[in-house]
């Protein structure tokens, strides 16, 4: 075998596989670029070994592709077909040459098709008679080809390992979250084998992959935890609090090890966490001190028994009936016997499918989702434009109108469905908080049960991390200040265990999250006293309860008697309020003395969509966030004053508000010069209100916020861009930034 051809074949094969990325309706320029470089390589090799036909074909292809990049070839599909054919020819010739040392095939037909597309015959095209010119090459033995470079192979494995490793890290961290939650469930219900299994499985998976990736420390730790749980599962070990503690510690340690690994591969240098793994293993062995098969998917009958619909005896009876001829399903048998209602059976069946569908989730890269959502947005815009065009141009074709309405229905449901893809249940956030409550309660010497309600309420993935911090603070607050000490609770006739309820539900396009405790409630007198002392309110102010409670959201009004390490340093609630408002959310408080306090927070479901008012200034359109708008008005001439040194002011309902001329600020030609001819919108931000002068209000819209990109995202006064109904971009105004801008100019 000869070398030349070998290299050539490899190059040709590479091109063939790269072609897959290249071909399509449009020319992908970077892919075409790579492809062109490969062709250049082929041309060089062909030149060197005087493989005329290959050189001619490659040069022709190269030229064609260049024309296609510049959009100078009309029939792109034909173009791609010719390129594809060219690759095949090169592959054939290379193989022929390898076998016989010459190339005999004719390229005349090919060149003809090619020249039709590019308009001339490529240079170097052989006359028909010398196309078969024997290309005799030295046939002597050449040193054996050593193309497999060991190093290269190694680095490939490394790269694969790296991506495996990254996947492992992401997955394991998720597993550990799962473990944490289920442990908490198990603690409440230690007999429940399902929970044990739910903890066992993720440890098992971590162990498996860690073993595969040679992460021995992680593997052995996961393995010993798995063993421990296996015993618990088999009933050889009682699920005591010692077991739960050691498993939690184990999960923590694993998490720390995995995070350490993550830091390492990301090249960050952190001191390794001080982990006493041997001691932990020792503890596991100590805690570990006999067999039924793990429960598979539960059977309908079992679910019915678990739900308390029927007794074991009734189930046995039903099962027997089901075996009789004709064979019935257990549900049918039970219904026919009148032991259950069809509704009960369907509920049980649904539960069963839920268990089964748990496994059918897939993980998708967020960027892919975002791309898809972008494209769907564009689809809806294009669809609207087509709809308008059709309305204007063709009015008679009823079928067309009907089809277009159908298309519009489909595209809007597609849009809804695509935005829904980013939504995930709040469950995970609640679970993280449960864990936190458990830890905090221990530290504070309190015993607290946490009760999540509405865990399936969905929220945008992007919001989850954002809302976590303010919510954590509220939870800490509830543990620390809300829930009373066990002694206090018994004295006031409550159960010793405190209760914190986390409740989530949707209301009016927002997600509402309530955090309630059954503790002592807010001390009105004390809050008032402190507020008076700090000069925030006047003694004579007659405040309602609601107003008093809201005082705690002001800076410096913590009423905690003792400062703890958890909360109560006088900062806090005001910070929480700010954080919530930054997310365009709201916070409210209700409290009943002696019964407990509830913090009600509400957040938009997504940060990706904003409700806005579209305004026009000159030729430009801007979007003002509805949450910031107080009112819009056309001021009377008498309301306008120009105060020397302070600038232009408009009197709105007795208040003198500064006027911002958006056109001047942004350097746009406006259509109205006098405020009384234009519209002013009263916008509020950071506790201040200003009038923004615009030419016209075009309407209201829900728009998707898009970043202006790394270079422009910090433009003052602009928080992003939105694609408007006509496919063009309108900039979204950031009121606070705009205020600052107007003050500096």
């Amino acid at each position: 075998m000869k070398m030349t051809d070998h290299g050539l074949i490899a190059l040709a094969d590479e091109m063939a596989s790269d072609f897959l990325f290249l071909s399509g309706r449009e020319v992908d320029i970077p892919a075409a670029g790579i492809f062109l470089n490969q062709l250049e390589g082929v041309i060089k090799v062909a030149e060197e070994y005087q493989l005329g036909p290959i050189k001619t074909v490659s040069s022709g292809m190269s030229f064609l592709l260049e024309r296609m990049i510049l959009d100078a070839v009309e029939n792109k599909e034909a173009g791609f077909a010719v390129v594809e054919k060219g690759i095949t020819i090169i592959q054939q010739f290379a193989q022929e040459y390898q076998l016989s040392g010459k190339i005999e095939g004719s390229i005349d037909d090919y060149l003809e098709t090619l020249s039709k597309l590019i308009g001339f015959v490529p240079e170097g095209a052989p006359k028909s008679d010398d196309s078969a010119a024997p290309v005799e090459q030295d046939q002597q033995d050449r040193p054996h080809d050593i193309t497999t470079d060991d190093k290269a192979t190694d680095s490939i494995t490394e790269i694969q390992d790296m991506s495996l490793l990254k996947d492992f890290i992401t997955e394991s961290l998720e597993y550990i979250d799962e473990i944490e939650v289920n442990i908490l469930n198990l603690e409440q219900d230690p007999e429940n084998k399902e929970y044990i299994n739910a903890i066992f499985r993720p440890f098992h998976s971590i162990k498996g992959v860690a073993g595969f990736l040679n992460l021995d420390e992680i593997r052995t730790l996961a393995h010993s935890l798995e063993n421990l749980l296996d015993k618990a599962r088999n009933g050889e070990l009682e699920v005591s609090s010692a077991v739960i503690d050691v498993v939690l510690d184990g999960a923590d340690t694993l998490k720390a090890m995995i995070l350490q690994l993550k830091n390492e591969i990301e090249g960050r240098q952190f001191p390794p966490p001080s982990l006493d793994i041997p001691a932990l293993k020792e503890r596991i062995i100590q805690v570990e001190s006999g067999l039924e098969p793990p429960p598979q998917r539960k059977r309908v009958g079992e679910i019915l028994v678990d739900d308390g619909v029927i007794s074991h005896a009734a189930l046995a009876e039903g099962l027997q009936t089901a075996q009789e001829i004709p064979v019935k399903k257990i549900g049918e048998a039970l219904i026919s016997k009148g032991m259950v209602t069809p509704k009960q059976v369907s509920t049980a069946l649904r539960k069963q499918t839920e268990q089964a569908t748990d496994a059918t989730m897939i993980r998708v890269d967020m960027r892919k989702l975002d791309d898809m959502i972008d494209m769907v947005g564009e689809l809806v815009i294009t669809q609207t434009i087509i709809q308008q065009d059709v309305k204007h141009h063709i009015s008679s074709d009823r079928n067309l109108h009907r089809d277009i309405s159908q298309l519009s229905r489909i595209s809007s449901s597609l849009q809804r469905a695509s935005t829904g893809l980013r939504m995930i249940p709040i469950k995970q956030t609640f679970q993280r908080m449960s864990r936190l409550v458990r830890d905090l309660a221990k530290g504070a010497g309190k015993s607290i049960v946490i009760e999540p309600v509405g865990e399936d309420t969905e929220i945008d993935r992007n919001m989850v991390d954002e809302i976590y911090n303010p919510l954590v603070h509220l939870v800490r607050n509830a543990v620390d200040h809300g829930i009373d000490t066990p002694e206090e609770r018994i004295r006031s006739g409550k159960t010793e265990k405190g209760l914190i309820e986390l409740k989530a539900y949707h209301r009016g396009g927002n997600i509402v999250i309530e955090i309630s405790d059954d503790g002592r409630g807010l001390n009105k007198a004390k809050i008032l006293q402190k507020a008076i002392k700090n000069g925030i309110v006047n003694e004579n102010d007659n405040l309602t309860d609601y107003e008093i409670y809201r005082l705690i959201l002001l800076p410096g009004l913590s009423t905690a008697e003792q400062v703890t390490d958890i909360s109560g340093r006088g900062v806090g609630m005001d910070v929480v309020k700010q954080a919530v408002e930054k997310l365009r959310g709201k916070i409210d408080i209700t409290s009943v003395p002696g019964k407990g306090t509830t913090f009600i927070t509400s957040f938009p479901l997504t940060m990706a969509i904003i409700d806005g008012m579209i305004v026009r200034v000159g030729k430009e359109r801007y979007i003002l966030p509805t949450t910031a708008i107080r009112q819009a008005l056309r001021p009377a001439r008498k309301d306008y004053t120009n105060i020397i040194g302070k600038g232009e002011m408009i009197t709105v309902m007795g208040r003198l508000l500064p006027l911002i001329r958006l056109a001047d600020l942004f350097g746009i030609a406006e259509s109205n010069h006098e405020p009384w001819d234009a519209i002013t919108v009263v916008v509020e931000g950071e506790g201040r209100a200003k009038c923004i002068m615009v030419d016209e209000i075009l309407g209201k819209a829900e728009v998707v916020i898009k970043s202006l990109g790394d270079g422009l995202k910090n433009t003052k006064g602009i928080s992003g861009g939105a694609i408007l109904g006509d496919g063009q971009i309108g900039l979204i105004i950031d009121p606070e930034g705009l205020f600052e801008l107007s003050e500096t100019q």
Binding site: I69, E620, G709, N714
Partner: protein, 171 residues
């Protein structure tokens, strides 16, 4: 012989990393420029650009490229050349520049797009010092081709260095 082949193959691979390779050429005030083809995402015709306030003059604004908002820079203005009315031939070349965290798509307005050229290493000369308004750090080299001299641009440097900092610092 075998070494030769390996060398040739290596060279083929090196096209990508070296200055040698395929360039997309375009004109700007009668001058020819080139950008490495691998940097180019697509070439689109002129479209409505939304002006972004508080940005330098050469930042023309933002466009909607199939649902993505991307900034557009007028290369004439960027290089301190005289502005020109956009014509039928005016194009936006969408390039991908290497940002600090990710690749950033950006549009550059050019007078017209010319061709895709294969430029050999031997035809590329290092940048002479001009002492003119154009920062030579932007330039990869000068390519002598049949049709004259083409200025090869390091588009990352043209759009990255200052743009990012400048726009950030403006606030």
């Amino acid at each position: 012989m075998a070494e030769d082949i390996i060398k040739t193959m290596d060279q083929a691979v090196k096209y990508i990393s070296n200055r040698e390779g395929k360039y997309l050429t375009f004109t700007l005030a009668q001058e020819e420029y080139g950008i490495g083809i691998l940097k180019v995402k697509e070439i689109i015709g002129m479209m409505t650009i939304t002006t972004v306030p508080q940005t330098p003059g050469y930042v023309k604004g933002v466009i909607n490229l199939r649902g993505k908002v991307i900034p557009v820079i007028d290369l004439r203005l960027k290089f301190g050349m005289e502005a020109m009315e956009y014509t039928e031939r005016t194009c936006i070349i969408v390039v991908e520049i290497t940002g600090p965290n990710a690749k950033i798509p950006m549009g550059i307005v050019v007078d017209s797009v010319s061709e895709v050229l294969n430029i050999k290493a031997g035809d590329i000369e290092d940048t002479p010092t001009f002492g003119s308004k154009m920062d030579t750090a932007y330039i990869l080299g000068m390519a002598k081709t049949g049709g004259g001299v083409k200025i090869l641009l390091d588009i990352d440097k043209v759009l990255n260095s200052e743009e990012m900092g400048l726009l950030d610092g403006m606030a």
